[in-house]
Amino acid sequence: MRSIHWASLGGALALILALAGCGGSSQTSSQAASAKGPIQVWYSNNPEEVKWGEAMVAGWNKDHPQDQVTGQQIPAGKSSEEVIGAGITAGTTPCLIFNTSPASVPQFQKQGGLVPLSDFSGANAYIDSRTGSRAGQYKSPDGKYYQMPWKTNPVMIFYNKDVFQKAGLDVSNPPLKTYDQFLTTSQAAVAKGGVRAAIWPAPSSEFYQPWFDFYPLFIAQTKGKQLVENKQPQFDSSDGIAVANFWRQMYAGNLAPKEPAQGDAFATGQAAMAIVGPWAIAQYTGKVNWGVVPVPTKNGMDPAQIHTFSDQKSVGMYSSCKNRGTAWDFLKFTTSSANDGQLLELTGQMPMRTDLPGTYGSYFQSHPEYKLFADQASRTVEVPNVPNSVEMWQDFRAAYSKSVIFGNQSVDQSFKAASDQIKTLVSQ
């Protein structure tokens, strides 16, 4: 009997010692910054990006036998952000994640989960020269880059040419420039086009949903403003209220449904239009005869002046990374002109690089349907990099749902209250 007790005690001590051994490392961050060796990276799980990710890893490993990279799809979860947040807490994040949402960067940074890329020699110059003036939006309040702006999916309006034709609408130059035109076109599409909805943005309450209804139109209407600038909310303004009232009319007229769609409403022919970026083209090919136009503004605007939401994804380097020297080199390798070109080729998504049409002229010649996105990609606006970013968007969504989607309060009242709340949040 006694031997069993001693065995149990011994086992427990061994377990405690083993667990204790898991924590801590003698490597300092400055040593890690230059350390070379094997690293792990995660990339998104859609087939196109998996193909790109695998190609990148194979290309690197061929020339770097000592510093091998292991790639894998980001583990399944409700969202990448939750998976990454949990990984940071557990210390299980890989060195690089090629799917880091800029809205989550302030939170990840607060958690001590991100490595400041600006601390690498020449990093700021590299990011600025690759992305141009848009790069400034990705700097954190301390002036450093904690993310590498990687690829963008500028949000535009897709329309179903067959539905428009059936509804007697101009297919090559659809009347979708102003809010009035958009409303009239929507009414015609629903009345005569054989669709249930003119457009079907998700009416659910997730914090990121404003990026695909209110925010692109707000950016366009304000000629490129962020939701919050200099700690001041910008949406409680005549432009913001005009955008909200436009969507409110869409919901009130049942042109945009209040209930979530079953499946992709545009791909399945339930909606005449969609508000999304070029990543979705792969989903629509062979299903919808689509065209694309910039998002509308109140009184119409020259398309060459219209800004929109970037739907950008960054690459983050995570603090659990030991061999950061290799990670930084691999990050530069994957964002080189050639490998950005491969990203464009394989996924149709726009690298965060200046002069896309000039750099990848042959691609756009053979894929003319992507030209508009390339042009739009140079005029994109990001979510603001502010404290409590996710909470801020959640509060905004609540106000928007109440006043715009369900019409239970006036937009003015609702936006005023949300503006006051958000001002407090971003000042913390």
Partner: protein
Amino acid sequence: MAVSAPAPAGARRPRLQTLLGEQPIGYLFVAPFVIFLIAIYAYPFFYSIYMSFYDYFFAAPGAVVDRPFVGLANYTRAVQDPLFHIALRNVVIFLLINVPVTVVVAMVLATALNAAIPLRSFFRAAYYVPYVTASVAAVSIWLWLFGGPGLVNKVSGPLAPNPTWLVNAFWVMPIIALYVTWKGLGLYILLYLAALQNIAKELYEAASVDGAGRIRSFLVVTVPGLRPATLLVVITSVITGANLFTEPYLLTGGGGPDNQSVSPVFLLYRQGIEQNHPGYAAAMGLLLVLGVLIVSAINRFVLERE
């Protein structure tokens, strides 16, 4: 007669035995569950009490972060948070529908399935199927049933509400309560079926001799005989109901419409995981635990008294 002193080891043995019992190896057998209980329930519970007094957030291992002590601030915030009030109201509406309907329907169906009816085994299995069906699959069916162009609206015709059920502020919680009742019914029917086996047949015979019909027998014999099971069903359904999460998460797209189906546990998830305010989430969680304890105590008092 000389009496020799007992050996020292012999003197310690009774004390050890008193401490560890006749069969100390039993501790080894229960150890895995005790460790599981401590690691999965007790430690997180006590840690959440600690977190609720701090401006706590999850951070990377080794990261130097500031998590100041905030006293009762998280509790004050929860008590004053209008969204938490809405969530509590929603869960009360849910429980007021879900618990009585569960008790009545499960008891009646269990009694029916206990009788010698045709296809008894089939019905017993059929009522249990929703309980073991994955929530995502069951939710998809209900979304299809209660959606705008869904079957329920087609059958209801002009009586269908506008906006439709799951985006209607009045109907959304009753529909969720019915969904949860339907999904969990199989378990409660099983509990009642087991309890029915303990009711002596003689009681029914005596009731019959006294002239009681089926309904009277059900009311005077079955219902009182099932009281211990009813207590279990009520407490279990109150606890699971207070933990409502999957339905606002999946069925109504995050507590819609306009937060009218948001639940306290959904708020915990949003605050604790999405927004990384686990200190505040812990305070809300502990207030919820307190509420459930009070309701359970009331249930015991009401249902257990003679």
